[in-house]
């Protein structure tokens, strides 16, 4: 029964991947990649149960975290072209 869930997640990941390849805008691709990340979390969790090793959940959590950080970083870079940018302190000289 875990296998059915895994297949479902895998099919979803495939569909999302098609959207990521089709685009058309960069935001479609980022949306697809972000979703692909959360599906990976599910995939890893269910896989851990399938193999009888629930410690895989830690990996899932790490993936969720890196996925979120990555999405925010990409968005910030697209918007400002600069990862360290801060509007509130733009007048202050850089340290």
């Amino acid at each position: 029964m875990f296998l059915a869930a895994i297949i479902g997640v895998a099919v979803t990941m495939l569909l999302i991947l098609i959207r990521a390849l089709l685009g058309p805008s960069a935001y479609d691709r980022i949306l697809a990649l972000n979703l692909f990340g959360t599906k990976t979390v599910l995939f890893v969790s269910v896989l851990g149960f399938l193999n009888g090793r629930p410690e895989f959940l830690d990996l899932g959590l790490v993936y969720a975290l890196i996925n979120f950080t990555g999405t925010i970083a990409v968005l910030k870079f697209m918007q400002y072209g600069d990862l360290g940018w801060d509007e509130a302190s733009k007048d202050k000289p850089d340290v």
Binding site: T69, D82, D86, E87
Partner: protein, 143 residues
């Protein structure tokens, strides 16, 4: 991106749990997948998240680059020191069996110490790399 209400509130909420999770991965490396490298990356991710939202200058104030350099060096020293201590106690480099009176405890402490060294170095080096890269954006070159 401090003016972005939702992002700011959520990131503030998440930083503490992420840090504690990083430390959990650090110290439970021999029981579950993980260890020093992953823990270092997660720890650095929390600081990077902070820097993305509150800006590089603010992150450098909270976690100064000078301190990071020292911690990175300390990590390597801890790693090498564990190895050399094992050599002095009569084993090979990083031969954990010689760290304590019996081999099982030696393995345990050796692994913890070496992983801790790896974690220290990885987290501080990744954060330093981020500081350097983030400081070279498009905006800064224009102004």
């Amino acid at each position: 991106m401090r003016e972005h209400t939702v992002l700011r509130v959520v990131v503030k909420l998440l930083i503490a749990p992420i840090l504690i999770f990083a430390l959990y991965v650090q110290f439970h490396g021999d029981y579950s997948p993980g260890g020093g490298f992953q823990a270092g990356v997660i720890f650095a991710a929390a600081i990077i998240l902070y820097a993305l939202i509150f800006g590089l200058a603010e992150a450098r104030r909270a976690v100064p680059p000078g301190v990071l350099r020292v911690i990175g060096a300390l990590g390597v020293l801890l790693y090498a020191g564990t190895g050399v201590y094992a050599m002095l106690s009569g084993g090979n480099f990083l031969d954990y069996d010689y760290l304590a009176h019996d081999a099982v405890h030696g393995q345990h402490y050796g692994l913890l110490l070496v992983e801790f060294g790896v974690g220290l170095t990885v987290s501080s080096v990744i954060t330093s790399v981020f500081y350097v890269f983030a400081g070279r954006g498009r905006r800064r070159e224009q102004s």
